[in-house]
């Protein structure tokens, strides 16, 4: 179980800013989120950085209930 923080376009596609999903790794948790939130969300995730507790993390990074995974899409420049 890990907490998910959805930002910008990822939040919009999911319809929520925060959610919780089971899973032992970043990839597990994201997979459950994609199942729930659908293909538009999946496309955004594919373009996004995934942060665990504020830092870039690999998809096989192990997560627990105290960790927060943020889905960080590209930002508009300027």
């Amino acid at each position: 179980m890990s907490r998910l923080l959805l930002l910008g376009p990822a939040r919009e596609a999911a319809g929520v800013r925060r959610a919780e999903f089971p899973g032992d790794t970043v990839a597990d948790v994201i997979e459950r989120a994609v199942e729930r939130f659908g293909p538009t969300f999946a496309e955004i995730v594919a373009l996004s950085h995934l942060w665990v507790n504020g830092d870039d993390a690999a998809r096989d990074h192990v997560v627990g209930p105290s960790d927060e995974i943020a889905v960080v899409p590209p930002v508009s420049g300027g």
Partner: protein, 156 residues
């Protein structure tokens, strides 16, 4: 508070920004220079619309943490800089209102200009902040999206 103390003031808020208050806060008796940058909401879009307002979205805690990482690097690179303030507004920002303020004080002006410019450039590239353009009858995420990088990647 010792006014000559090196210090930072970082805020991400849904309230209107006060650039005058921010610039006043960084002013110090041993500094002759205050450079203030205001990023204001523009009416112009890459799309064919007249923008009436922008909407900024982020997570406040995450954004403030990333901004503090930027101010730490500013201080490392320009040790003479005395005070640095970065305030970012989120939510709805009408055209001509200020979305972000950076203010820097230093004894002389060159370092204040350099540090302020580095600071806003780094904030734009390293802080998660999504901008939605709102026009009469519609809205869209701003184009020209780019990956967020870490501030350490900006130092050559």
């Amino acid at each position: 508070m010792d006014l000559n103390q090196a210090s930072e003031w970082v805020v991400v808020t849904a309230d209107s920004l006060r650039p005058d208050q921010v610039a006043g806060w960084v002013t110090r008796p041993d500094c002759g220079a205050v450079v203030t940058f205001c990023g204001t909401a523009r009416a112009n879009s890459t799309l064919e619309h007249e923008i009436i307002e922008l909407e900024y979205d982020t997570d406040i805690t995450l954004a403030e943490t990333r901004i503090r990482a930027v101010t730490a690097v500013v201080r490392q690179n320009w040790p003479v800089v005395r005070a640095i303030a970065v305030h970012h507004r989120i939510g709805t920002v009408p055209v001509t209102d200020t979305a972000v303020v950076v203010a820097v004080s230093s004894p002389h002006r060159r370092e204040a200009f350099e540090a302020a410019q580095f600071c806003i450039d780094a904030v734009k590239r390293t802080v998660p902040m999504w901008k939605r353009e709102v026009w009469r009858g519609g809205s869209a995420w701003s184009a020209e999206a780019q990956d967020i990088v870490n501030v350490d990647d900006l130092i050559s």
